[in-house]
C-alpha cells in the first residue's frame, strides 16, 4: 500500500471545529466514525444517544470518559494485585483487555495503547510481569496529560531500563541503546541527531539502574565529565538530555505526525503546512496531549472523507469493536489468546519500533484469522471461547417491531456494524445469503425461534467479514 501526500488541504479549514450543516450533517456515519477512533466503536445505545446530543457534547464525553473512572480504576488495580505473584504474562494481557473492554474512559485506554506502542517495551526481554504492569500504569497516568513528565518518568522506569539496557550502562562501559531510541523513536525521529550525539548522550545515563525494584543511581558508575550533545557542552545527566530533546521543536512535530497517523489516517501523510499548526500548539502547550487529541477529534478534517475509513483496525481494535458493538462479555484470557495470532500481542511488541500498523495488519493469514475470530465470537460453533456474543439477544434488546422477519433485523445489524454504508454488490450478496438461509431445510427439532437465532448469527458473521468492517 502506498501513502499519499496531500498538498491541497487548507490547514485553517482542516483544524477548525466541525459544525454540522445541511451539507455536512451529523449522522450515524459521523457518530460511528468518531466512536471507532475514540472508543471501541459505537454500540446501539451510544449511536442513538450521540445522534441526539450532537458532536460537541459527544466529543466532550469521549475526552473525559463517563463518570466512575476513579472507582473503576481502584477496582481493576485490585484485580491486578495477584499478577505480580503469578508472574503470568497471559493474565497481565487479559487484565488489560478487561480494562479496555470495561473502562468508562475508552479513549484513555486507546491512548495507553498508543504510548505502549510508542515506547514499545516487551516482556520478552524484561521478563517481569510486575514491572510491565507498573509501566502500563505509569503510561496510563500520563497518557492524556503532558508528554514531558511521561518521557522523564519512562526514562527511569525499571521495565524500560531493562528493555533498552540502561541498567548495564556504566561510565567505563557505556551502552548506547537507550540514548539511541530516546532520540530516534521516542522524541525526535531519524536524522535529527548525529551518531556522536548518541554516543555522548549515552554517557549521561551511565549509572542509572534499579535497586529494590525501583529507580536508583549508582554514584560510582556516573560519568560526570563533559559531554557534547546537539552542539552544547556540559556535564549533562540523563534528565538534562531528555529536556534537551523536549526543547527541540522537531520533537513536537515528530509526535504530532505520529498522533496524526494514529487518529486521522493511515494513508494521508500531512505536509509540513498541515502539521505545523498542530506542532506549534503542542509545543506551546508544553506537550499537552489531551489538547492536541481534542483538536484533531473536533476538526473538520477528522470528519471529512479524507479520514473516513482511512485506517485499518488493529487486532485489538478489531476484536474489542466486535465485542463492544455486540454487547458481549467474553473471557479475556481466551480472548487474548485469539488476538495474539492476529498480530498484536500486548506487552510483546515485535521490536523497539512497535507495531507498524496500517496495511501491515492485514495479510492472507491475519485476514483469514479475523474472519474466523468473528465466527468464534458470534456463533456457537467455536469451542475456544465459551462466553460469546449473542446477536439475537442484542436484536431483542434494541429492536422494536417485528423480530421474526430477517430483512429488517439484517438492516439493523448492518446499521450498527457498518451504518448501512455498503455498495450495491454487497447488498445483493446479503440478499442472496438471506434467501439461502430462508430456503434451506433445517433439522426437524429446530423451532422457529432457533432457526431465526441461527440466521441472525450467520448474517452477523457475514457482515463482519466484509472488507469495510476491517476499516477504522
Amino acid at each position: 500500500m502506498k501513502l499519499h501526500y496531500h498538498k491541497d488541504i487548507d490547514p485553517q479549514w482542516a483544524w477548525a471545529e466541525y459544525k454540522p450543516t445541511a451539507q455536512t450533517p451529523w449522522t450515524m456515519k459521523q457518530v460511528a466514525h468518531l466512536y471507532r477512533r475514540a472508543g471501541w466503536g459505537a454500540n446501539w445505545t451510544e449511536l442513538q444517544a450521540a445522534l441526539k446530543n450532537g458532536p460537541t457534547q459527544t466529543i466532550d464525553l469521549l475526552m473525559t470518559g463517563k463518570p466512575g473512572l476513579k472507582a473503576f480504576q481502584t477496582r481493576v488495580a485490585k484485580l491486578a494485585a495477584p499478577l505480580e505473584e503469578t508472574a503470568d504474562e497471559h493474565r497481565l494481557r487479559a487484565w488489560w483487555l478487561y480494562v479496555m473492554m470495561n473502562s468508562p474512559h475508552p479513549l484513555l485506554e486507546r491512548m495507553t495503547l498508543f504510548w505502549h506502542n510508542h515506547f514499545a517495551t516487551s516482556n520478552a526481554k524484561v521478563q517481569h510481569v510486575g514491572r510491565m504492569y507498573r509501566q502500563n500504569q505509569l503510561i496510563r497516568t500520563h497518557a492524556l496529560k503532558r508528554f514531558g513528565p511521561m518521557l522523564h518518568a519512562i526514562s527511569e522506569d525499571p521495565a524500560m531500563m531493562v528493555w533498552l539496557d540502561t541498567v548495564s550502562n556504566r561510565k567505563k562501559t557505556p551502552n548506547e541503546n537507550y540514548a539511541r531510541e530516546l532520540m530516534e523513536l521516542f522524541s525526535l525521529g531519524i536524522d535529527q541527531y548525529t551518531e556522536q550525539d548518541i554516543r555522548e548522550a549515552a554517557r549521561a545515563f551511565a549509572g542509572w539502574g534499579i535497586k529494590n525494584d525501583a529507580f536508583h543511581v549508582y554514584q560510582e558508575d556516573i560519568d560526570s565529565d563533559s559531554k557534547k550533545v546537539f552542539g552544547k557542552a556540559g556535564s549533562f545527566d540523563g534528565h538534562q538530555i531528555v529536556d534537551m530533546c523536549l526543547d527541540k521543536k522537531t520533537c513536537a512535530s515528530f509526535l504530532s505526525r505520529k498522533l496524526f497517523k494514529h487518529f486521522m489516517s493511515d494513508t494521508l501523510v500531512p505536509d509540513d503546512a498541515l502539521i505545523q499548526p498542530l506542532a506549534e500548539r503542542f509545543y506551546k502547550s508544553q506537550y499537552d496531549i489531551a489538547d492536541l487529541v481534542g483538536v484533531m477529534l473536533r476538526s473538520n478534517l477528522f470528519f471529512s472523507p479524507d479520514c473516513y475509513r482511512a485506517k485499518i483496525k488493529s487486532p485489538v481494535e478489531f476484536g474489542l469493536s466486535v465485542v463492544h458493538m455486540l454487547e458481549g462479555r467474553v473471557d479475556t484470557i481466551q480472548f487474548a489468546e485469539m488476538l495474539d495470532p492476529l498480530g498484536q500481542r500486548l506487552f510483546a511488541p515485535p521490536s523497539v519500533k512497535g507495531w507498524d500498523g496500517g496495511a501491515q495488519w492485514l495479510n492472507s493469514s491475519t485476514l483469514l484469522l479475523r474472519h474466523n475470530l468473528c465466527l468464534a465470537l458470534s456463533s456457537t460453533e467455536d469451542q475456544r471461547i465459551l462466553n460469546r456474543c449473542d446477536p439475537s439477544r442484542l436484536v431483542k434488546k434494541h429492536k422494536t417491531g417485528a423480530q421474526s422477519e430477517l430483512a429488517p433485523v439484517v438492516t439493523m445489524l448492518s446499521e450498527l456494524l457498518l451504518q448501512n454504508d455498503l455498495p450495491a454488490t454487497t447488498r445483493e450478496r446479503l440478499q442472496l445469503r438471506m434467501k439461502q438461509l430462508r430456503e434451506q431445510k433445517y433439522a426437524r427439532y429446530w423451532n422457529a425461534e432457533l432457526i431465526m437465532e441461527y440466521q441472525i448469527r450467520s448474517m452477523c458473521h457475514l457482515i463482519m467479514t466484509l472488507p469495510e468492517f476491517q476499516l477504522l
Binding site: 548495564s168 498480530g343 498484536q344 465466527l375
Partner: protein, 415 residues
C-alpha cells in the same frame, strides 16, 4: 462532509486520487506478467531464492572469525571464541564453534561466504539500515523492496513470493511491490471456518464470504480497495493450499526451532511446486547489547541446524540445485565489546549463500581489525553487488532495473 456515496467518491478522486493504488490492481498484475521479458535468459525458469534475515544486527565478527588476528581476542575479552573450538575454514578464518553444520556444507562447497559486506556511510539505526537492505536504496523513501520490484519481471505465472512468518507478522519491505506476497504460518491455519449446520450451508457461507474480495473497485475508497485485494488474494491462496498435498514427510529430521519450522514449510511449498520463486523467513534476536555469548550461540545453533536440515531435505528431494539460500543482517556489531558482555551497533558483516549451485568458499578478505571506521569494520563489498549477481545470474531479472549498476560477483557456478 459525508454526502451520499457519489459525492464522496467524487471528492475522494478529486482530492487525493486513487492513483497510488491503481498500479497494483489485478489487471496490472496480468499485464506485467504478459509483458515480462527474458523468458529464455539464464535463471529465468524455476530457480528459487530463499532469504533468511537475521534481525537485530548479527555479530559478524563472532560468526566468521579471524582467529589468528591478535586484535580479535584483544577486542573481545569476554566474547572471544577459543581458537581450538573454532570451525576452521582455512589457516586464518573460522566459523563460530556452534556452526558445525555450516562448516560441513562449506567443505562440500555448498556454502559461499562473502566477507566484509556493507554499504557506504552505514546507518546504525536498525530500521533505516534494514530499510536500506530491503529497498536496495541508500536514501528513502523506502516504499518498495528489491524483491518486490523484481516480481513483475519474472516469467508469466511464476512471479510470486511468500513470506513465511508468525501469524500476524508483517510481510517485509523487501517483498513489497506491485504484486502482493502473502504471509503463511502453516498449511493448517489457512482455512476459512464456517458455521453452517449442513455441508451445503457451509459451502454457501464460504462462497459468499469469498466473494467479498470481488466488489467492484470503482465503488471503493483507496484503503477499501486495498482490503478487497487482500481478501481476493487470501481466498485464492487458501484454495491453492487446500489443494496441495498435506502428507509431506521431510527426508531428514528438522530441529525443533521456529526457523526450522518455517524452512520446512518452504521445503513443502517448493516440493509441491506452488510456483513461487521467492521465500522469505526471519530469525529475530540478534540485537545483543548485553550478555551476548549465550544468546548468540543459541541463535547461531538454530541457524546452522535449521539451514543444514533444509539443505539436506531439499537435496534428498532433488531441489538443491535450483534453490539458493541467502542470509543477511542489517549490520554487524562494534568490534570492541561493550561493558555489558555485549556489543553495540556496528557496520560490515558477512553474507552467506547456500545451495548446490553456489561456488563455495570465501569471497573477499576479512575486513581489517586494525583499520576501523569509528570502531566499526569497513566494508569492501556493496550488498547490492550480491543482489545484482542473484538477479542477473539466478532469478533472470535485469539487475540494473532493480538495484542500479553493480558488478556481478563470482558467487554461483557457471551452468
Amino acid at each position: 462532509m459525508f454526502l451520499h456515496r457519489r459525492s464522496f467518491l467524487k471528492s475522494t478522486f478529486a482530492g487525493t486520487g486513487l492513483v497510488a493504488y491503481g498500479l497494483s490492481s489485478p489487471q496490472f498484475l496480468t499485464r506485467a506478467a504478459a509483458a515480462t521479458p527474458l523468458l529464455d535468459a539464464k535463471g529465468s525458469r524455476d530457480t528459487i531464492l530463499v532469504v533468511v534475515q537475521l534481525t537485530g544486527g548479527n555479530d559478524g565478527l563472532n560468526t566468521v572469525i579471524p582467529f589468528n588476528d591478535p586484535l580479535y581476542a584483544a577486542s573481545r575479552p569476554t566474547l572471544k571464541q577459543k581458537p581450538s573450538d573454532i570451525k576452521k575454514l582455512n589457516k586464518d578464518i573460522g566459523l563460530h564453534p556452534v556452526l558445525q553444520g555450516l562448516a560441513e556444507l562449506f567443505n562440500e562447497q555448498a556454502l559461499t561466504i562473502v566477507q566484509g559486506v556493507g554499504y557506504p556511510n552505514p546507518n546504525q539505526s536498525h530500521f533505516t539500515s534494514m530499510d536500506i537492505w530491503h529497498s536496495a536504496r541508500l536514501d528513502g523513501p523506502y516504499s518498495d523492496g528489491w524483491l518486490g520490484r523484481s516480481l513483475g519481471h519474472f516469467k508469466q505465472g511464476s512471479g510470486s513470493g511468500y513470506h513465511l512468518g508468525n501469524q500476524g507478522e508483517a510481510s517485509p519491505l523487501a517483498l513489497t511491490g506491485s504484486i502482493k506476497c502473502p504471509t503463511i504460518t502453516s498449511l493448517a491455519d489457512m482455512e476459512l471456518r464456517a458455521s453452517g449446520h449442513t455441508n451445503l450451508d457451509r459451502k454457501h457461507q464460504r462462497e459468499i464470504i469469498e466473494k467479498s474480495g470481488q466488489a467492484s473497485v470503482t465503488e471503493s475508497s483507496s484503503l477499501l480497495d486495498y482490503v478487497q485485494r487482500t481478501s481476493a488474494g487470501t481466498f485464492s491462496t487458501v484454495k491453492k493450499l487446500r489443494e496441495i498435498a498435506k502428507n509431506y514427510d521431510s527426508k531428514v529430521p528438522y530441529p525443533a526451532n521456529r526457523l526450522a519450522e518455517r524452512l520446512k514449510l518452504a521445503a513443502q511449498l517448493i516440493d509441491v511446486e506452488i510456483g513461487a520463486r521467492i521465500f522469505y523467513v526471519e530469525q529475530d534476536g540478534y540485537d545483543t547489547h548485553a550478555d551476548q555469548a549465550g544468546n548468540h550461540s543459541r541463535l547461531l545453533t538454530e541457524l546452522s541446524s535449521a539451514l543444514t536440515a533444509f539443505y539436506r531435505d531439499l537435496k534428498a528431494r532433488g531441489h538443491a540445485k535450483r534453490v539458493v539460500i541467502l542470509t543477511f543482517s542489517e549490520f554487524g556489531r562494534r568490534v570492541k565489546e561493550n561493558g555489558s558482555q555485549g556489543t553495540d551497533h556496528g557496520a560490515a558483516a558477512p553474507v552467506f549463500l547456500l545451495g548446490e549451485s553456489v561456488n563455495g568458499g570465501l569471497v573477499g578478505a576479512h575486513p581489517r581489525l586494525d583499520k576501523l571506521d569509528d570502531g566499526n569494520l569497513i566494508h569492501h563489498t556493496d550488498f547490492r553487488s550480491i543482489y545484482s549477481t542473484i538477479l542477473d545470474q539466478w532469478l533472470g531479472v535485469p539487475s540494473n532495473k532493480i538495484v542500479g549498476q553493480f558488478q556481478n560477483l563470482q558467487l554461483l557456478k557457471k551452468t
